[in-house]
C-alpha cells in the first residue's frame, strides 16, 4: 500500500455498490467481485437482480458509495451505462464513479469511457486487478469525512 492509499483507508473505507441493471440474470461474476472487494477491506453493497438505473442511483446515494460496479452480460451496456451516468449527474451525485464488468466488446469501451464510465473490466480479470484499481483511483479523490 502506498502512503496515499493508507491515508485514504484511514479516513474512510472505500464503499462500493455492486449493481445488476436490466433483465440480465447472470450475477455470479458480480457476487464473486463483491466478495473479493469485501475481503480486500472495502464496504460492499449488492443491489440484487433486475434493477432499473433509477433504483441503482437511489441506492448509491442512500448508501453514500464512492463507486458503482455494474455487471452486464446481456449487451445492453450502451444504453444502460450512459443513462446511469446521466441520472447520477442529474441527482448531483457526479462524484460517484462507475466501473463496469462482464461481456462488453472492445469497440464499445472508448465510447463508454467518454460517457462517464471510469474503467471496464472484462470477464477473466483477476480480483486483485480490480482491487488495485479501486485502491489507486480512490486515493486522491476519496470523499472527505468532514
Amino acid at each position: 500500500m502506498t502512503p496515499a492509499t493508507a491515508g485514504a483507508a484511514q479516513r474512510r473505507k472505500i464503499r462500493v455498490l455492486i449493481a445488476k441493471v436490466g433483465l440480465d440474470g447472470h450475477d455470479v461474476g458480480a457476487r464473486v467481485v463483491a466478495r473479493g472487494l469485501l475481503d480486500a477491506g472495502m464496504e460492499v453493497i449488492y443491489t440484487g437482480l433486475r434493477r432499473t438505473t433509477e433504483d441503482v442511483v437511489r441506492a448509491a446515494i442512500e448508501e453514500d458509495v464512492d463507486w458503482i460496479g455494474v455487471s452486464i452480460l446481456s449487451g445492453a451496456h450502451q444504453v444502460l451505462l450512459p443513462k446511469l451516468r446521466r441520472l447520477l449527474d442529474e441527482a448531483e451525485a457526479g462524484d460517484i464513479r462507475i466501473i463496469a464488468g462482464g461481456i462488453i466488446p472492445q469497440e464499445d469501451i472508448p465510447a463508454l469511457c467518454e460517457n462517464g464510465v471510469s474503467q471496464v473490466f472484462l470477464s477473466g480479470t483477476s480480483i486483485a486487478e480490480i482491487v488495485d484499481y479501486l485502491m489507486r483511483e480512490s486515493a486522491p479523490q476519496s470523499k472527505d469525512m468532514t
Binding site: I18, G25, V32, G36, G48, L49, S74, Q78, I103
Partner: protein, 571 residues
C-alpha cells in the same frame, strides 16, 4: 524354432501367486511411482472441481474398496438401475439427438437461421428467447428497452410462432421447444397452438421445454413470481401433458446453471434432484401417479471442468434417479425409473483465442456422450460472448456429428463401464450427490434452498473457490493462467439487431390492433378465474394464446395474483 518365452517369474504361476493387488499397489506406489515423482511440487492440484482427490493409478483394489457388485451397481443398459444407459440400444441403435439452441432478433430472423441449421443436420431446435420474453415482458414494455432480440428471439404472441416456424413443420424435427422457465404454461400453449395452426396433431410431434423455474432463483435469474407459485405453474405443464401429450418432455430439470454458477456438479445435481422432488410432489398432490408423470421429466446434468467426472456424474445420476423413483416413490414402470438426460457441451471456454473453445467443447461433449446422454447440444465457440454466429453454430453441429459417427466413439455401449477409475469415481460422485441430498433434506427441501440462502451461499463459495484455483494456477487454463493472452470480446457480442427490434414492435402493435378483442377479453377473464381457483392453468392459457393474447398480458395476471419475487441482495 524361436518361441517367445517370458523370463524369470513372469509366467502363469505369478498370476495365481496369491499376491494381493492392494499390497502390490502400495508397493508400486512406494517403490516405483514415488521415486519417479521425485520431490518437485505437483504440476497441478489433482483434485476434481467437486473436491475428489485423484490418485495416480486405479486398480481392482479400488473396486474392492467401493464394494463393487456388477449386477447390483451396473446391470444392463435400459434396465434397473440404468447406470449403463437409459435405453437398451444407446448410441448403437438409438443415437443421441443432434440438437441446436438458437434464436435471435425477431421471428423472421430466427426462421432463416433455423432453416440453415436444419440444412446442416440439426435434429432438434431449442429456441433461445430474449430476456424480456423470458422475464414476462412484452417487447413494448419499458423494461424491455434495449433488450429486445438481444440474447434470443422476441416472442410476444402466436403470430411470432407462426412466422418463426413458417416452412418448418413441427413434425419435421425430433423435438421442438424452448426454455420458458418462468412462463411454462405460455410456451407450452404456444407450441401446442403451433401444431394446431400447422395442422399437425399433438401426437405427431414432440415438444421439449426446460420449464424449471426453481433454479432461476439461485442460478439463472429469469424468475418472475415467488418460487412456490412458479413451481406450481411449471408442474401444471407436466400435468397437462400427462393427459394430452404424454410423449412430450415438458420439463427439463437443470444442474447446468447451478453448477456453472459455482455449486459444483455434485451439489448442483443434489439441488436439481431436490427440485425434481418438489415438482413431483406437487403433481402427486394433484392426483397423478408417479408412473404417469416421472417419464415426462428430463434431467439436464452438467460438468465442465473434469472429463471423467462428467462421465461418472451421468452414470451416478441415472443410478440415483432409478433408486429414488423405485424406492422413495414406489414407481413400477421402467420408464419412470430411466433418467433421460439432455446436456449442453461446454468446456472451460475462454475469451482469448476463441477457436480454442472448439476442442474444449468437443472434449466436454465427448464425455457426455460416453456418459450416455440422450440429447446433446454443443456450445458455439463464441457462445461466452454472443449468441452463436452462423459459422460457430455450424461447427458445433458438425462436431456433434463427428462425435456421433467418427472415431468409433459410439460403437460399444458404456465403453468405460468397468474401468477401475470410472467405477471408483462413479461411486465417489454418487456419494457426493447423496450427501448433498441429505444436506438439503436438513435444510428442508427445494424451497428452503432458495429462501434460506443455502443455494446462493454454496454457489458463491464455490465460485470464489474456482476463481482462487484459477488465480493460483491450481486449475490450469490455457491462455488464461498458462501461456496467458489478453481476453478479447469481439464486436459482434450480443449486439442487438435494431431493425429486428423495430419489426417486432410494429408486428406487436399490428397484432394487438387486429385481434378479436371480445375473445381476448373473455380469454383473459378465464385465465384470471382458472388461476384464482387453483385449476391447472394450461387450458385457459392455451385459449388465450389462440386468441393472440400477448405473453405480458397473461403474466400480468399472475403478477397480480401471486406477487413478484424479491431479489436477494446476499452475496
Amino acid at each position: 524354432m524361436n518361441v517367445f518365452k517370458p523370463k524369470g517369474d513372469f509366467d502363469a504361476a505369478s498370476f495365481d501367486s496369491g499376491k494381493d493387488v492392494a499390497a502390490e499397489s502400495a508397493r508400486w506406489l512406494k517403490e516405483a511411482f514415488a521415486p519417479a515423482r521425485g520431490s518437485a511440487p505437483d504440476r497441478k492440484k489433482f483434485l476434481t472441481d467437486t473436491g475428489v482427490p485423484i490418485e495416480p493409478l486405479y486398480t481392482p483394489a479400488h473396486l474392492d474398496r467401493i464394494g463393487f457388485d456388477y449386477l447390483r451397481d451396473l446391470g444392463f443398459p435400459g434396465e434397473y438401475p440404468f447406470t449403463r444407459g437409459d435405453r437398451p440400444g444407446m448410441n448403437r441403435t438409438d443415437p443421441f439427438v443432434v440438437s441446436a439452441y438458437a434464436g435471435y432478433g425477431d421471428a423472421e430472423a430466427s426462421n432463416a437461421r433455423f432453416k440453415r441449421l436444419l440444412d446442416v443436420g440439426a435434429e432438434q431446435i431449442l429456441v433461445a428467447l430474449d430476456l424480456p420474453t423470458q422475464c414476462g415482458y412484452d417487447s413494448d414494455h419499458e423494461m424491455a428497452a434495449a433488450e429486445v432480440g438481444n440474447v434470443g428471439v422476441a416472442i410476444d404472441t402466436l403470430a411470432d410462432m407462426e412466422i418463426m416456424f413458417d416452412g418448418i413443420r413441427a413434425d419435421s424435427v425430433k423435438r421442438i421447444g424452448t426454455l420458458g422457465n418462468s412462463i411454462g404454461p405460455i410456451v407450452l400453449a404456444q407450441y401446442a397452438a403451433l401444431g394446431e395452426k400447422q395442422g399437425v396433431p399433438w401426437d405427431r410431434y414432440t415438444v421439449n421445454l426446460q420449464n424449471d423455474p426453481l433454479k432461476e432463483y439461485i442460478a439463472r435469474g429469469t424468475q418472475i413470481l415467488p418460487p412456490a407459485p412458479a413451481a406450481k405453474l411449471a408442474a401444471d405443464c407436466v400435468g397437462w401433458c400427462a393427459e394430452h401429450a404424454p410423449h412430450w418432455s415438458p420439463m427439463t430439470v437443470c444442474v447446468n446453471h447451478i453448477n456453472a454458477g459455482g455449486a459444483g456438479s455434485s451439489m448442483g445435481t443434489a439441488i436439481a434432484l431436490a427440485n425434481v422432488r418438489h415438482y413431483l410432489d406437487l403433481l402427486l398432490a394433484r392426483g397423478h401417479s408417479i408412473d404417469q408423470v416421472a417419464p415426462l421429466l428430463h434431467m439436464f446434468p452438467d460438468e465442465r471442468h473434469d472429463f471423467f467426472v462428467s462421465i461418472a456424474n451421468l452414470r451416478a445420476l441415472r443410478r440415483i434417479w432409478a433408486r429414488l423413483m423405485k424406492e422413495s416413490y414406489g414407481a413400477k414402470s421402467p420408464e419412470a425409473m430411466a433418467c433421460k438426460t439432455t446436456v449442453y457441451g461446454h468446456g472451460q471456454e475462454a475469451l482469448a483465442e476463441p477457436l480454442n473453445n472448439i476442442p474444449r467443447t468437443a472434449f466436454g461433449t465427448l464425455a457426455y456422450m460416453l456418459g450416455g446422454a440422450s440429447y446433446i447440444y454443443l456450445a458455439g465457440y463464441d457462445e461466452a460472448v454472443s449468441t452463436p454466429n452462423e459459422n460457430s453454430a455450424r461447427v458445433a453441429l458438425r462436431t456433434l456429428q463427428i462425435i456421433a459417427n467418427e472415431h468409433g466413439f459410439a460403437d460399444a455401449i458404456d465403453p468405460l463401464g468397468g474401468s477401475y477409475y470410472v467405477e471408483t469415481l462413479t461411486a465417489q460422485i454418487e456419494k457426493q450427490i447423496l450427501d448433498g441430498m441429505a444436506q438439503i433434506e436438513r435444510v428442508g427441501g427445494a424451497l428452503p434452498v432458495i429462501s434460506t440462502g443455502f443455494g446462493r451461499r454454496v454457489m458463491t463459495e464455490g465460485a470464489v473457490r474456482r476463481q482462487r484455483a484459477i488465480d493460483s494456477g491450481d486449475r490450469p487454463w490455457v491462455t488464461v493462467n498458462m501461456w496467458k493472452q489478453k481476453p478479447n470480446v469481439p464486436n459482434t457480442a450480443f449486439r442487438g439487431d435494431a431493425q429486428a427490434a423495430e419489426r417486432q414492435l410494429a408486428r406487436l402493435a399490428q397484432v394487438k390492433a387486429n385481434r378479436d378483442q371480445a375473445r381476448v377479453k373473455a380469454a383473459l377473464a378465464e385465465v384470471e378465474r382458472a388461476t384464482a381457483e387453483d385449476r391447472n392453468t394450461v387450458p385457459s392459457v392455451l385459449e388465450a394464446v389462440r386468441a393472440y393474447v400477448t405473453e405480458g398480458e397473461i403474466v400480468d395476471i399472475w403478477r397480480r395474483q401471486f406477487g413478484t419475487f424479491v431479489p436477494s441482495t446476499d452475496f
